[in-house]
């Protein structure tokens, strides 16, 4: 179980981004972490995976524990070894390497060849499209294929917990559905998933539990089904209004008339 307890993260020693974030990801579940731009979702991911150093960030308070062990302050490679891998925001595949080579990079921490071979087979089963394009340079894949590659790469280390940062970013609705189904598949094969998303509908439809973040802390949490039914969530994240849940037209949104003169 991954547990963040009262985590505070400061960038450049002045910018306080996470103000006491506490979330839990129990084994075998999908947990969604939702929030608007700048809420600190990606920072939370960096706090988990040990990449804060690259951005001059630091955990000033609180702890990140995984299966009872404190993992904040560890090197990213150690965290991968302990069973947490991530799919970074914006896919970040190695564009100049082929699909196969990208996957090898994903399994680089695993010394046991049999294990990586197994993981490779599993990735190829999950993503038949990648199997077709094994020898192709990753930079020339389509956005959806690159996202599949990024997920496949993270699976190569046979993680116990997979953290996905905005897997729906920049993808067509059809592809988002496909990615969503894949996440469910991965979860059913026994990997717990922390899904960091802006697309609340997609995330909550598959998650067991959800957290909603705003300005660095959790403002609401609960069962995913309960969150989906919540009026505030509906209004803020799903764009739905009223008891019947009808979509609201922009025409009806109340606008305030702008002042016509400069205040003197």
């Amino acid at each position: 179980m991954l547990e963040l307890a009262n985590v505070e993260v400061v960038y450049n020693e002045v910018i306080l981004v996470l103000r006491g974030l506490s979330i839990e990801v129990p084994d075998g579940q999908i947990v969604a972490l939702l929030g608007a731009n700048g809420a600190g979702k990606t920072t939370a991911l960096r706090a988990i995976s040990g990449l804060l150093d690259n951005h001059n960030g630091e955990i000033t308070k609180g702890t990140v524990t995984y299966n009872g062990e404190v993992i904040n302050g560890r090197k990213p490679s150690d965290i991968v070894l302990s069973g947490i891998t991530q799919v970074m925001e914006g896919r970040r595949v190695f564009g100049e390497l082929t699909v196969d080579e990208n996957l090898i990079c994903g399994g680089i921490t695993i010394k046991d060849r049999n294990q990586t071979d197994e993981a490779y087979e599993r990735v190829m089963d999950l993503f038949p499209r990648l199997a077709e394009r094994r020898k192709q340079v990753a930079g020339y894949l389509s956005g959806g294929e690159q996202q599949m590659l990024a997920i496949g790469r993270a699976l190569m280390a046979s993680p116990k917990l997979l953290v996905l940062d905005e897997p729906s970013l920049g993808l067509a609705p059809k592809l988002i559905e496909q990615i969503r189904d894949i996440i469910v598949d991965i979860n059913q094969q026994g990997t717990s998933v922390l899904l960091i998303e802006q697309n609340a509908m997609m995330a909550l439809s598959i998650a067991n539990f959800g957290y909603i973040m705003e300005t660095g802390k959790v403002v609401m949490d609960g069962d995913a089904k309960k969150l989906l039914a919540d009026d505030d969530v509906k209004e803020f994240y799903l764009g739905l209004h009223g008891e019947d849940g009808a979509k609201k037209s922009f025409k009806d949104v109340k606008h305030y008339r702008r002042r016509k003169r400069w205040a003197s």
Binding site: L51, P76, G139, R153
Partner: protein, 357 residues
């Protein structure tokens, strides 16, 4: 590799193609006219090209992992050659041998001269790798995540420091390399071929094959991943420090090998280490840039092209020194590089950045 499309409305392409055609016509003419000189010149240029290729491979290895052009390659080459000289001529261990006399144990074992020499050179290369590791740990690793320009300037500073160390502290003055192939050779008609030409070619071939296969290994793939996106590589659990260390260690070994052959004909006739050795790496720089900074094949082909151009210009334009000046072969590599870059701005084999349209 993207295909080269010729465009004859582009002046640089016309210059490039006409030079190529002119070169072929000239070669055929000279081959018929005076085959002895032509063949010896060819061997000589292949040898020089091999030396450039070895040095260029060192540049490529470090660039491909760290995105930094290592300007200190020249002095690492010189100090590497110095290590070799310490091991084989003084029969003394390098680094510690600068200060105390510690005998090289290999020569006390006895055995055939060439075998002891080769083993000693291998040990010296290990010392060169250690030098590369130390430089990486002290000067490069703390700069991870800083602008690449700063790191490049650090390597420039290292060049000066290392050269100063070698020149003033160790006082290198024509230290011998005692190469087993000696300074001898054989004659083809009126041309002369040194044995060292073949040694350079063989070592370049081995280095090329080794580097080529290294990039297909797991570690090599990790190295390329680091070059492409450091943070994403870290997120996969790739140990960046280890990758940098391997790149610098291997780069220093290649530099030392280049330094060894930079003391031999055809680069220099003395067969000894002197301060000029460090300048040879800068003559190899056009080869790397022409071939493409991130390409192993590019280093080999670029080195051969530049070496060939330099030797042939020296051989066949020697009647023109009145207006060309006597040192003109040295600028030929840069001339070739400029024409090459006009045709392909990222080098002959360099990868233009891959972007999805």
């Amino acid at each position: 590799m993207a295909k080269l499309k010729l465009n004859f409305s582009e002046p640089s392409h016309v210059i490039g193609v006409s030079l190529l055609i002119g070169g072929v016509i000239f070669s055929v003419y000279e081959l018929v006219h005076d085959p002895d000189i032509f063949v010896t010149t060819l061997l000589k240029s292949l040898a020089l090209g091999s030396v450039y290729a070895i040095l260029a491979l060192g540049f490529v290895l470090i660039f491909k992992a760290t995105e930094v052009v290592n300007f200190s390659q020249g002095s690492i080459a010189m100090i590497g050659a110095l290590f070799i000289s310490f091991m084989v001529a003084d029969e003394n261990l390098p680094i510690v041998g600068f200060f105390w006399e510690i005998k090289n144990p290999i020569y006390s074992l006895g055995g055939p001269e060439w075998l002891m020499w080769t083993l000693s050179v291998l040990v010296a290369l290990c010392f060169a790798a250690m030098l590369g590791l130390v430089i990486e740990r002290l000067a490069i690793r703390p700069m991870i995540g800083e602008p690449l320009f700063s790191v490049a300037v650090i390597t420039l500073g290292l060049e000066i420091v290392l050269r100063g160390f070698a020149n003033d502290t160790v006082k290198i003055q024509y230290r011998n390399i005692n190469a087993p192939w000696g300074t001898g050779g054989f004659k083809i008609g009126s041309g002369f071929v040194n044995w060292s030409y073949f040694a350079a070619m063989i070592v370049a071939a081995i280095a090329f094959v080794a580097v080529f296969f290294f990039y297909r290994s797991r570690m090599g793939i990790a190295m390329r991943a680091v070059a492409h996106d450091q943070e994403a590589a870290m997120a996969q659990g790739i140990n960046i420090g280890k990758v940098f260390a391997i790149a610098w260690g291997a780069g220093a070994v290649l530099a030392a090998l280049g330094g060894l052959f930079a003391t031999q004909p055809p680069v220099r006739q003395t067969g000894a280490v002197d301060p000029e050795v460090s300048l040879v790496a800068f003559r190899a720089l056009p080869a790397v840039i022409l071939g493409g900074l991130d390409s192993v094949q590019g280093a080999l082909i670029g080195g051969l092209i530049v070496g060939t151009a330099e030797i042939y210009a020296g051989q066949y334009l020697s009647g023109q020194t009145a207006w060309l000046g006597s040192g003109y072969p040295l600028i030929v590599p840069y001339f070739v590089m400029i024409i090459g870059l006009l045709v392909r701005p990222y080098g002959l084999f360099g990868t233009p950045e891959i972007r999805r349209v």
